[in-house]
Amino acid sequence: MKVRYRALHPFDKEAEERHIQEDHGLHPYDEYLKPGRIPHIWCPGCGLGIVVTAFIEAMKQKNVPVAQSAVVSGIGCTGRVAGYLDMDTYHTTHGRAIPFATGLALVRQDLIVTVFSGDGDLFAIGGNHLIHAARRNVNLKVICVNNFNYGMTGGQVAPTTPIDARTSTTPFGNAEPSFNLPHLAHAAGAVYVARWTTYHARQLVHSISQAFDKKGFTFVEVVAPCPTGFGRPNKLGSGLDEMRHYREVCEVRNGADPSEVEIRLREKIIVGTFVDVERPDFMEHYQSLVVARAQAKAKSKGKGKAA
């Protein structure tokens, strides 16, 4: 039988008081987090906490019960999310969050399966999986935290690093053009595509909750500060400075053509909900084509035998 971690570690009022007085206080959504796992390992000013809070907020808004939510992460700073949420979570290997989640979503169609992972995890080492899951329109809610680098391993160049940006493996500037993530997700077949930055916390919550309502492959890109890996070499200042920067350079353009939302260093960033369409999801196709035909065949065989 499955037991939630919280059931084993019931809420400790005294400890809460102690924490609040001596230490950092409890997270406002502590009941969604694994007891004892906070403080997290993320750097001061990192955008990841905002994204986690937005995800929980969206769950609350949509009344998604914890028992109905499963979160699958790859490896990276973003991948750590799986370790902090007190619900069914799966910390997979680097790049494989989507195939793990696919297996889960197909077998447990009652669950809302969210893939929470980094830009490197989803678009470098795991890029192949993302395009195929989008093509199949598997019922997955992908949240991609794009900090333009491999944060966890020390800020190396990623396929999302804007051209000319500095990283620990492009010390004098990146020579490769980057992926435009919404365009890629759209082209591969995602039914819902949005981009926000961590500055747009409310819009982000709204997009995640919209994604919860949709059937099929949804993709939300969250541009997030990584002051340690990306901010420092590119002189973007602290996490807060980077948020201010996003406030200045972002332009909300819902319904923008995804092919026109490429991100360049220090230039305007287009945010918004770009794609929201309907298309039969994987299970629907599978039921109508494979299962229905197989059932029909089995029936006709059965008839033959009886005759």
């Binding site: 470098a124 080492i125 391993t153 190396q156 492009t170």
Partner: protein, 387 residues
């Protein structure tokens, strides 16, 4: 002789790769390998190294790029660890079977699951049978020297094989050690230009990686096996020349205070330094204990191992990986098989120690010797395990 500097071993290793004037570096970051590759990217970016630096999208691509560039005749480098090596494994086999002399530095780290970024040798053992030359290093100087040695041996037309140099993750990669650098002249005299045996060339077409039908597959494997075994004299020659140049003599199997030893320890990698301290302490206490360091893992130095071990009463093998479900851990199994037909052989004890980053101290090693001498031969212990 070059100057001696205190330097992080990863940076020293990258400097050595730079001195070899490599043409292509293709790698994907993974802890604890990152500093090596970051430093190489810096050498390329600031013009100190004229090479293509390819920040590929995964390790599978890294080794694939390496195969491509080595096949075109370029001196090629990559580095990885654990999960990276696991993902790369398919192409690791290809590189060796196609006889492409690539150098890979493995910053040894435990394999998932559970996820661990810390050191053991499970990654190296996973590709044990891939047909690469595999060397384990004891300290920073050792790693630095072996970069030159690896290119010299691997690229030698008598060998033409890829070489894996293993350095313990964190224990070696992230420490600052005194390293005596080589000068450009030393490298020039030691390491000839790469003249590849087989290359893809438009004027002389070949097909690489073609089908091996049942009539030829076994022959191909035998040829590979012979090639790897025949690399031994070239490895020895490389170490001899290195000794002439630097005064440091490396050997496939190295002995430490083994004179008259009744009990021998056998270890690989940085554990050898720890074990040598334990041996010193035990010798001081009047115990007849010595240490055998296994530097060369593939080709397996059968004759040298037999010679080193046959005189002892007991042998304690320190294995830094576990072969789940097997009778013994990988190194112990190999050593046991090597000694089985010897008229005189020690009792062999398997001690699995230091896996997943568990610290091993000289005191632990002494304890392992004591435990082994109390127990019977067949037992395979995971040392210090709780519960």
């Amino acid at each position: 002789m070059g100057k001696k500097v205190g330097i992080e071993v990863s940076i020293a290793a990258a400097e050595a790769v730079g001195l070899c004037d490599v043409d292509v570096v293709a790698a994907y970051p993974i802890t604890p390998q990152t500093h090596i590759v970051e430093h190489l990217s810096e050498l390329v970016a600031n013009g100190r190294l004229d090479a293509e630096f390819v920040p590929v999208e995964s390790e599978h691509s890294a080794m694939s790029v390496c195969c491509g560039s080595a096949a075109a005749g370029a001196r090629t480098f990559t580095s990885t660890a654990a999960q990276g090596l696991a993902l790369m494994a398919e192409i690791v086999y290809i590189a060796a079977s196609m006889r492409l002399p690539i150098l890979m530095l493995v910053a040894n780290r435990a394999l998932s699951a559970p996820l661990s970024i810390w050191n053991d040798h499970s990654d190296a053992m996973m590709v044990r049978d891939s047909g690469w030359i595999q060397i384990f290093c004891e300290n920073g100087q050792d790693v630095y020297d072996h970069i030159f040695h690896a290119y010299r041996v691997g690229e030698d037309p008598r060998v033409s094989l890829p070489v894996m140099v293993n350095m313990d993750g964190f224990i070696l990669t992230h420490v600052i050690e005194p390293v005596e650098f080589w000068t450009k002249e030393m490298v020039g005299s030691y390491l000839p230009r790469f003249r590849p045996l087989n290359t893809l060339h438009p004027d002389k077409v070949v097909t690489m990686g073609a089908f091996g039908m049942p009539e030829i597959y076994a022959e191909q494997k035998m040829a590979h096996d012979q090639a790897l075994k025949n690399s031994m004299p070239v490895l020895l020659e490389g170490w001899d020349e290195l000794a002439k140049l630097t005064g440091r003599k490396y050997e496939p199997v190295e002995l430490y205070r083994t004179e008259g030893a009744e009990t021998l320890l056998l270890a690989m990698g940085s554990l050898c330094e720890t074990a040598s301290l334990a041996v010193d302490q035990m010798r001081e206490a009047g115990r007849k204990v010595g240490l055998v360091k296994l530097r060369l893992w593939r080709p397996f130095p059968l004759a040298e191992v037999r010679k080193a071990l046959s005189g002892a009463k007991d042998l304690v093998v320190l294995d830094r990986s576990i072969s789940v479900g097997a009778a013994n851990a990988p190194v112990t199994s190999e050593i046991s098989a090597a000694m089985y037909h010897e008229p005189q052989r020690p009792r062999i004890h398997c001690m699995i120690a230091g896996i997943g980053g568990r610290d091993v101290t000289p005191e632990d090693i002494t304890n392992m010797v004591d435990l082994s001498l109390k127990g019977t031969e067949q037992e395979c212990h995971i040392y210090g395990v709780r519960g």
